[in-house]
């Protein structure tokens, strides 16, 4: 496994590259939603959770 940059958040080690990938997806979703208003706040939170869980699983 290639060396990955990690960071410890709340005693949990996270993969920074993976985290940044999630962040990009989140930004795209949020900016799109500001314009379209497709999802309400609860739905957006669910979308973000989905992004996190997908990326974490994708090891």
């Amino acid at each position: 496994m290639a060396d990955t940059e990690t960071k410890t958040i709340n005693s949990v080690e996270i993969d920074v590259e993976k985290a940044n990938r999630m962040l990009k997806r989140l930004i795209v979703k949020e900016t799109a939603n500001i314009k379209t208003k497709r999802y309400n706040d609860g739905e957006m939170a669910k979308q973000i959770k989905k992004i996190i869980e997908e990326e974490v699983v994708c090891y």
């Binding site: 958040i9 709340n10 985290a19 500001i34 208003k37 609860g42 990326e55």
Partner: protein
Amino acid sequence: MLLRNLRLTNFRQFKGDQPISFSTNPDRNVTIIMGENGSGKTTLAQAFTWCLYGDTDFEDKSMLSKAVAQNMLPNEEANVRVDLDLVHNGMEYTIIREQRYSKDSSGSLRRPSQTIFKITYKGSDGQREFVPDLETDLRMKEILPRELSKYFFFNGERIEKMSKEIRRGKSKEFAEAVKSLLGLSAFTAALDHLKSRSSSSVIRSYDNSYNAGSDARIAQYTKEIDDFDDEIEAITRRLAEIENEEAIAQDKCDELEEKISKFKDSEVLTKERERLRNKLNGLISSKASSTTALLRSFNKNAQQYFAKKMMKDALQRLSEADKLDKGIPDIHERTIKFLIDRGFCICGNKIVFNNEAYKELMKVLDYIPPQSLGSLIGQFVRDCELKSKGGSSLFEEVSEQYRVIRDFETDYAEVEKNIKLVEQRLVNMENVGELQKDLINYESRLKGLKTERDNLNKEHGSYENKKKYKVADRKELTLKDETNRKIEVYKAYAQYMYDVLFDDYTQKEAETRNQLQETVNGIFKHIYNGGLSLSLDENYNVNIIVNDFEGYNSDVETSTAQRISVIFAFIAGVIKMARDSQNDENEMLVSEPYPLVMDAPLSAFDKTRIQTVCDTLPKVAEQVIIFIKDTDGELAETYMGQQVGARYLFEKKNEFETYLVTR
């Protein structure tokens, strides 16, 4: 946001259905609606705020056209409605507000119904859809927050109030609204979705999804952490309220101090009024006593005074009294009676009753004392001398007293005039004592708020600590369970994203604020040529700085022209930034151009500034809609002629009816 059409139905003096279309042509983005005073300019401007927020500045809150109301029969109904078509974020909206009015059986207007507020939009399939009723207020807030609306729906007659608002005391909501206009709302939305008090936020929902089956304490700790969060949130809310209350109390203190300093003259004036009133009373009693003295002198000496001439003439005549006096010097009645009783005269002649000697002696009795004419004359002369002495001072005495009485009229009028002048100056002044009392109250309120804030901050810290320990305890338990371990991992990623976004947001917000400050200053310098510049604090309050005095960076008092220039510069700056950030490459800055709807915007400017403003506005704003009186309107058309895309006129039929006609 671009405004397309406005349709008024029975709204105030706009009877029936009256549509108006605004220019949306980017090259001719100005719509001018001209009208004489009282024709309905302000009403039309207020139609926007009524439609969007359900409120107006009118004292008469009835929106129904008086002409319609007059013609309504008993039990008849009529609707007032305003529809506004606009485009926001590429979506076509129609904002509708409607209110039903009805008359009772006696023909009186009933209290109107609550307004009905609807927002429709054109869906991706081209079909009109309604925003759910529960979401209309939220959607309106997204389209144009009320806190900011007054800057986009600008009323030239509210300059003083706006100037104060723009410079200090703006709410946190205002700062948030500006940030949203500047395109930072995607950041705030993302931060909120990741971590907020809402149970649906990512981190909160993970907190609530631990598998409590592995250890009962997890649920207990989560509950305790939730309770701490509730306490922390309540404290945070109260701290925000305290900040607002402090700002209000501080404003009041400043206002009172200003009044006290302005009205400190009232104390001096009150004393002066008291002194003048005493003087007036003194004059009145002085007049009364002078009148009494005059009458007394007159009664006492007038006779002598007016007899003086006669006495003088008489004395002149009597100066020859010796010729009239046939008496014998030093002979008295007693001498004659002695001689008669003796029976012979000094000359030796016998004196017998009725003889010649006797008769001669009896004649003498008529001329000698006590019945001597000379004596009487002497007595008269002495009396005259005495009386003329008494009357000699009458003229001086009466003159002096009359002078006092005559002067009284002049002095009285003068003092009375001065009292009136003092009272006029006192009319608009407030009692300094009362103001002082209020000031003490507000200062003590400020002290109380500061103490409360200090205590709350301590409590806040204490809850944060307790929460931290509890979170650590819970983590210890959750890491023992596979499902919960996963949740901890998800939370860690969410927290990472939150931290990165928060740092990014803080940096972007500061950059955006600085950029706004530069933009506002650029516009301000264009509108107002003077040695002043503007700075924005973290709450987006505008401070005016004097450039020419190095080191002097306090806010300064400004003239009306400066104040209105500041307002224009701020509004135009925000609008320009909002418009420009659309083209920003940064994906997280999402913004929207905004129109400027202005009621009598130029009334406070001189010709030069009107030209500058007319030159600036169409360039910075995506759309400009101006309601203007004919004289200013002609100037505006001269300066903005090339940019005017639509022209309307308020045609006033009578006090209750105005019609919008194209020019």
